[in-house]
């Protein structure tokens, strides 16, 4: 019994690894997407719109299967064209991080776009008036102030992203969900209700990760709201 639990615990590292990797990738894509949508160039606006609309219109699982299976076929085709027998196997960890990051980048785009728009325009105008470059103004003045506006929606996105990492079990990564499912199948007959126990344990682990990250993000929210006067109502 304990060996099964310890085994599922090992999946914790994979789940957290995929989630954090995807979060970083999604945040970068989200910032790029928000910048594109807010830029004065029509073409970039358009590309940002297409990205955030198309991604959000299709289930994550379909994206994952499309990119994982499709990517493998593409790699094989390229390898064959170069004269090899078959291409290298795509690492499911990398595939998982890239797909989930790619999908949640679309949600982050909307989060960051709203947050950047919430920073009063006078702030960046003041920066430009001091002769700071556009990028420097963004990094030093807009970015630190928009964090406060982005955090609530960022927190939501993170919690949804974390739960969607369970999908990587479908492409064979040994995350919490996959290991719990395997443990349930292996212990069948040996432990009554094995699948129920291990699935509940897996669910408990996800709840723990969410609770800890909610606690940390609430601290960040306090830190980034220092000096903000709130109305009483």
């Amino acid at each position: 019994m304990t060996t099964y639990f310890l085994n599922i615990l090992q999946g914790l590292l994979v789940t957290i690894g995929v989630a954090l990797g995807a979060l970083v990738f999604a945040s970068v894509l989200g910032l790029a997407g928000a910048a594109a949508k807010l830029s004065p160039y029509r073409l970039l606006n358009w590309m940002g719109d297409i990205y955030s609309t198309v991604i959000r219109g299709v289930p994550d699982l379909v994206w994952m299967l499309l990119l994982y299976f499709g990517g493998q076929i593409l790699v094989n085709d390229i390898a064959e064209a170069l004269g090899y027998r078959s291409g290298p196997q795509i690492n499911p960890f990398v595939a998982g991080v890239l797909t989930i990051g790619f999908v949640y980048g679309a949600y982050m785009t909307e989060t960051f776009r709203g947050a950047i728009m919430s920073v009063p325009k006078g702030q960046s105008e003041a920066g430009w008036a001091f002769g700071m470059s556009r990028f420097y103004t963004f990094r030093k003045m807009v970015l630190p102030q928009m964090v406060r506006f982005a955090l609530p929606s960022f927190t939501n996105n993170w919690l949804v992203l974390l739960k969607s990492t369970a999908l990587v079990s479908v492409i064979g990564l040994t995350d919490i969900t996959n290991l719990a499912k395997q443990a349930g199948a292996a212990a069948r007959g040996e432990i009554p209700g094995a699948a129920i126990i291990f699935m509940a344990f897996a669910g408990f682990l996800y709840l723990m990760i969410s609770s800890v990250s909610l606690f940390l993000l609430r601290k960040a929210e306090t830190r980034y709201s220092v000096g903000v006067k709130r109305g009483n109502f």
Binding site: L65, A200, L207
Partner: protein, 238 residues
């Protein structure tokens, strides 16, 4: 590009058709059942009695804090594979349902969507303007009358925009039914073609386009509903 022709071969179009119906059935049954479950549980959730609201809070906390995939596995591999359940599922009534993979998936989706909807609706109820409630009290409404004639009609309308997101999320969530062996939804149709022809881009792009169209059809329907039911909350034109 010519490989896209495979999608349009009659037997493969048929696969998509069957999958499309299964997806639509999963979605509508889960939404209707979820809605029926949501209403009483929301009334419990907003109760000032902790013993009434507490269990519902715990239910929504656990469901919203764990992946849907875990919930599907919990029901399909957990409950439905218990030996005593399988021993009784031919004869004893509620357990006969667990024989059907469709029911297992729908049960997971129903619980999931109702947990999210309960929190949305409870939020809207709590945000009912205090003046409206005072007006109802001044007019001598009983507690139940106030809830059913005033608070709920207004809260249900105000939940509509959030609920449209939830419905789109559920459409996408039904793709998880494809992990239940023996259940044949839209995503599984694409997977079947992938396995038969070793083609990935074509079947999955086709299915992505279908989901995309369905998503925007749903968004459009909700826009119409909002125009009808939220007209009184629109900013005034003049």
């Amino acid at each position: 590009m010519d490989k896209f022709a495979i999608i349009f071969e009659p037997q493969n179009l048929h696969l998509y058709w069957v999958g499309f119906w299964a997806t639509m059935q999963l979605l509508t049954v889960s939404l209707v059942a979820g809605g029926l479950l949501t209403l009483p549980l929301t009334l419990m959730r907003v109760s000032s009695n902790r013993w009434v609201s507490g269990p519902v809070w715990l239910f929504t906390y656990v469901i919203r804090g764990t992946p849907l995939l875990i919930q599907v596995y919990f029901i399909y591999y957990g409950i439905a594979q218990l030996e005593w359940v399988q021993a009784l599922w031919d004869t004893t009534w509620p357990l006969t349902w667990f024989k059907e993979p469709f029911f297992c998936a729908v049960l997971a989706f129903t619980l999931n969507t109702s947990a999210y909807t309960i929190e949305m609706l409870a939020g809207a109820i709590k945000e009912t303007p205090a003046g409206e409630i005072e007006a109802a009290q001044a007019a001598g409404f009983s507690k139940w009358n106030m809830m059913f004639r005033l608070v709920l009609p207004s809260a249900l309308r105000r939940t509509l925009p959030g609920y449209s997101n939830e419905v789109v999320m559920m459409l996408h969530a039904t793709s998880l039914a494809s992990v239940v062996p023996a259940l044949y939804d839209l995503t599984n149709a694409a997977y079947a073609i992938y396995k038969t022809y070793y083609l990935a881009f074509q079947p999955f792009i086709a299915v992505a386009v279908l989901y995309f169209i369905l998503t925007f059809a749903l968004v459009y329907v909700f826009r119409l509903l909002e125009r009808r039911f939220l007209a009184y909350l629109k900013p005034r034109a003049h």
